[in-house]
Assembly symmetry: C2
Homo-oligomer: 152 residues x 2
């Protein structure tokens, strides 16, 4: 059921999500499937390089965005995402850590060429229990309008 | 087994990977788990917005990078990735499409403050069977040196 259209997003709108902790087996299984680098799957090398197994940044990206994608975005008339910018993995994420994600509408731009849609840009900030930023990024979505824009 | 160190990456080094096609059930299952937006999980809305189900950009990101992460990066003394830049989902990826990923070493920077490591930046370009770019991005990794840098 689509309930959110371009007009429903306003600069400054913010959403907060509690992110379920990743267990060590989950971190290692995700990494084995998608990102089998030693710091994510090899206890010995991870200990030496990072003081223990840390989550793949791709895993952190997915768990941290999932609640936004599964709620606000899943109800939106999203045509597609043009991309992401400035993904920063600022601090290691370790097994059992409960993260918090804040998503803010950074800006909205009605399309100049297509009156039926507009681009919404979001800032994402994910922090750990100590309040340390572990990841920041920006993403955007091209979203249908409820009503076509009036001609300028 | 770590065989690749900072010194082993040279600007212009390139790697080519054939990417296994995502089936429609795989696309929908991945999206149900991580990115349940209508264009990825709802046949009717996907048909209207995109002419059919398209892969989540996060799914494309993972399948397109996996061979690089599982080969070159998995053998590297990678301490961690600071992030990604300019992720562009340029063209929809549909079920059954065989993609090709090219990863190029964009540049390497020995760390100024830590003589045991350096930053390697990679350009990634993923194309479909028609040669159309479907995704481009940049990522970086902080990688241990085999031998500490000589003092400047």
């Amino acid at each position: 059921m689509i309930t959110h259209f371009f007009e429903d997003f306003k600069t400054g709108d913010a959403y907060d999500f509690a992110i379920p902790a990743m267990s060590k087996p989950e971190i290692m299984a995700f990494a084995a499937a998608w990102d089998p680098q030693p710091i994510h799957v090899d206890e010995e090398i991870a200990e030496k390089f990072q003081g223990g197994i840390i989550a793949s940044g791709y895993h952190t990206l997915l768990v941290a965005l999932r609640p936004m994608l599964a709620t606000v975005m899943a109800k939106s008339a999203n045509i597609g995402g043009p991309g992401m910018e400035h993904i920063r993995w600022l601090y290691p994420v370790r097994p059992g850590e409960r993260l918090q994600t804040k998503v803010t509408v950074a800006n909205t731009h009605a399309s100049r060429s297509k009156p039926d849609r507009g681009l919404v840009s979001f800032d994402v900030e994910t922090v750990n229990e100590a309040g340390i930023k572990v990841m920041t990024l920006q993403f955007a979505a091209m979203i249908h309008r409820r009503e076509p824009a009036a001609p300028a």
